[in-house]
């Protein structure tokens, strides 16, 4: 049999909790010795994926292999992995030594060997001489070090870390990040690290896996993910960014914010709508002059330590975030310039909402589980299956859930320079996408209506 060179292979894995889909067809391969970070907002399924690899939960579909051996149904105590938990999960009735020795004692390791291994694990995490301390007497950072020592002392093939630094304060977190990275290099074992902190992910990882809503959005090196985000979600989640609607005029020409820019992307076709990402540090800001591609007024300027973060309202009505070492105070007129290779063009995932529905009668169509009024349609009979299209900007959101034909929750907000692009999870289960100038918050419950003239219907 051919031995694969991946230490972890996750193949077509899905996980459901009742009706809720936590993971949707995940495929992930991890190379031996890699430091892989699974990154995503809370509730994206990243912890579930880690728990499936650890064996605390079983997959609904698909299989997981470790070192080429299928372990999908193997209970956790027989898997060659060890886990570091977010809340440390040290055994409170045991002291530091016995906590670390727990796994070795179960394996009936001889006493002198245990002693030696525990000592060297403690040395690895910088906790020499703490053997006989009570774990409750340790600080959060120290407890997490003991938890790491307890895991690595068993020499697992893979170390799983579930937001291990989330409970620590910022300074301690930064120190521990560096130590983890060193530890990874020294031990040479594979680390799978779960976090919602994008900076942590960029700092630590060889490979980042960005997840959202139970799906993998992008897998790549930190540089790839930062410089070439695959979609607007990734661009927004990783670092600060300006995300704007644009049009690919032709190869190496893209229009956005009311100006046509040279860029380096090609192969999108002509006059194709795209998303454009520009990192705030890639925009040059200077006093107005002819070289400027965009002109505008600074509306706010905040000192961020290393740089200044400024918001610029362009004459065309777009708001851009700019970072620069020089400050331009609010109210000042400025010129902006972006170099071609700093413009990142992404294919749009969708340009309008599309739903499958059914004609009820001449004036009504059913989709998203509700009946909507529509204009009379020629050539479509009642009962016909239809395809319904609604432009983002024609979906109307209302404060009062009862005022809408159906209701939903705002679950993702993207600022696009001059409007917000919202993802609203409807109670029916499908998402609806909305462009709006109104300010909504994540988690807002909204009513959704669409006026009849804005519903486009095509027979399937």
């Amino acid at each position: 049999m051919q031995k694969s060179n991946y230490i972890i292979e996750v193949q077509n894995v899905s996980k459901h909790f009742g009706d809720k889909i936590a993971l949707d067809n995940i495929n992930l391969n991890v190379k031996k010795g890699e430091f892989v970070t699974i990154l995503g907002p809370s509730g994206c399924g990243k912890t579930t994926l880690l728990r499936l690899i650890a064996g605390f939960q079983t997959t609904s579909e698909g299989q997981i292999k470790i070192s080429g051996n299928e372990i999908t149904q193997t209970p956790p105590h027989l898997r060659p992995v060890n886990t570091v938990f977010q809340k440390y999960a040290l055994f409170p009735h045991l002291n530091v030594f016995d906590n670390i020795a727990f796994g070795l004692k179960l394996k009936k390791t001889p006493e002198p060997v245990i002693e030696k291994k525990v000592k060297s694990a403690l040395k690895m995490v910088g906790m020499t001489d703490y053997e006989y301390r009570d774990v409750d007497s340790l600080s959060g950072g120290q407890q997490q070090r003991v938890a790491i020592a307890r895991a690595i002392v068993n020499e697992p093939e893979v170390l799983l870390l579930d937001e291990p630094l989330a409970a620590l304060d910022l300074k301690m977190r930064k120190d521990m990040q560096m130590e983890l990275k060193e530890m990874h290099q020294k031990l040479g074992i594979t680390f799978v690290y779960v976090t919602h902190d994008q900076e942590e992910a960029l700092t630590l990882s060889d490979t980042i896996v960005v997840m959202s809503e139970g799906r993998i959005q992008q897998i790549g090196t930190p540089m790839d993910i930062y410089n070439e985000p695959i979609n607007s979600f990734v661009a927004d989640f990783i670092g600060e960014s300006n995300i704007l609607n644009g049009t690919m005029v032709k190869d190496e020409k893209v229009a956005f914010a009311g100006h046509e820019f040279d860029c380096v992307d090609k192969g999108f076709g002509e006059n194709v709508p795209v998303d454009v990402v520009i990192r705030p540090e890639d925009i040059y800001i200077f006093d107005p002059q002819d070289a400027a591609q965009l002109n505008g007024v600074v509306t706010s300027c905040i000192f961020k330590g290393v740089h200044f973060e400024m918001l610029v309202q362009t004459d065309q009505g777009y708001e851009l975030m700019v970072q620069d070492y020089h400050s331009f105070e609010a109210g000042r007129r400025v010129g902006l310039l972006v170099k071609p290779f700093d413009i990142h063009v992404m294919k749009k995932e969708r340009t309008c909402n599309t739903f499958e529905g059914e004609m009820i009668d001449a004036n009504h169509v059913e989709f998203l589980g509700e009946k909507f009024e529509c204009l009379p349609q020629d050539g479509i009979e009642s009962g016909d299956k239809v395809n319904v299209e609604v432009d983002f900007k024609n979906v109307i959101l209302q404060d009062n859930e009862e005022d809408g034909v159906l209701s939903g929750d705002v679950n993702f907000i993207l600022y696009k320079g001059n409007h917000y692009h919202l993802t609203v999870g409807t109670d029916y289960g499908e998402d609806i996408y909305v462009d709006t100038n109104d300010v909504w918050d994540n988690g807002d419950c909204v009513g959704i209506t669409i006026s009849p003239e804005h519903i486009r219907i095509n027979k399937l």
Partner: protein, 264 residues
């Protein structure tokens, strides 16, 4: 100032009222008089005759039975209750979890007399002859819910990941239970055991219905029978004193433990 004195006075008055019966018994346990209320001078004779036995063979056997039953019932119900608590705690469905919790509380709120009568009917209808075994079974039945209640808070306080951490480090589910979960809930189990023990010692209502008529006696049934025969055996005075002090000590231990847990 006046109010404070009044409030304090009221408190002491109330306490005196509550404890005067037991105080009277305690005081008169140190005299020889056959009839309660006659003071014939300080003496420890009742205590020594209580322990020398001889005359009061049935009283001694009642004491032995009582403590034996209490020990067995408390041990078994501690095991059953702890395992039940772990099971209830890990139930996924919150609805059925609250139903089970409610079911667990019913026997606690149910009057003892009802528990006694229903157990009596149960044993009779299954044709189980009543005696030592039935009393033990009955005591296990009404003690177990209390153990569940005293173990549950420990489980709730426990870091939910430590069981998984044990599995992760190579422990089988049983090893994880033994090496990690039991040490964590041990304080709750001990409190539950003590509680079950005291409940079993002082139970009368359930015991009288399940003890049968084979001549088996526990302290409570013995005292009841003795009192009905007319006049209490004088040795019951020192015995009551000893039991009261024992229970008091156990209660103080329980409370101290609870206080210590709260501080943690």
């Amino acid at each position: 100032m006046m109010n404070r004195i009044l409030a304090k006075g009221y408190l002491w008055f109330l306490l005196a009222l509550l404890y005067s019966p037991i105080l009277i018994i305690m005081i008169f346990s140190f005299t020889e008089a056959k009839v309660l209320g006659n003071w014939t001078g300080f003496s420890l004779k009742l205590y020594s005759s209580l322990f020398s036995g001889g005359m009061h063979h049935s009283l001694v056997s009642a004491i032995v039975n009582t403590f034996l039953i209490a020990f067995i019932a408390a041990s078994v119900s501690t095991m059953l209750g702890s395992i039940a608590a772990i099971g209830i705690f890990n139930m996924r469905n919150p609805y059925s979890k609250s139903i089970i919790n409610f079911t667990n509380n019913i026997p606690i709120m149910n009057p003892d007399i009802i528990t006694g009568v229903s157990l009596f009917l149960l044993f009779v209808s299954f044709g189980i002859s009543q005696g030592f075994t039935t009393v033990v079974l009955a005591h296990i039945a009404f003690c177990t819910p209390y153990v569940v209640l005293s173990v549950m808070p420990r489980l709730k306080k426990m870091n939910p990941n430590i069981y998984e951490a044990a599995l992760d480090l190579g422990a089988t589910p049983f090893q994880a239970l033994r090496k990690v979960i039991f040490p964590e809930i041990l304080p709750g189990m001990i409190s539950g055991f003590i509680l079950a023990f005291t409940l079993s010692i002082d139970d009368f209502a359930v015991t009288i219905f399940t003890i049968g008529n084979q001549g088996l006696e526990t302290l409570s049934t013995f005292i009841y029978a003795d009192a009905r025969k007319g006049g209490l055996t004088p040795e019951l005075r020192p015995l009551s004193t000893i039991i009261f002090v024992t229970v008091l000590v156990l209660l103080i231990i329980i409370n101290k433990r609870a206080e210590k847990q709260k501080k943690e």
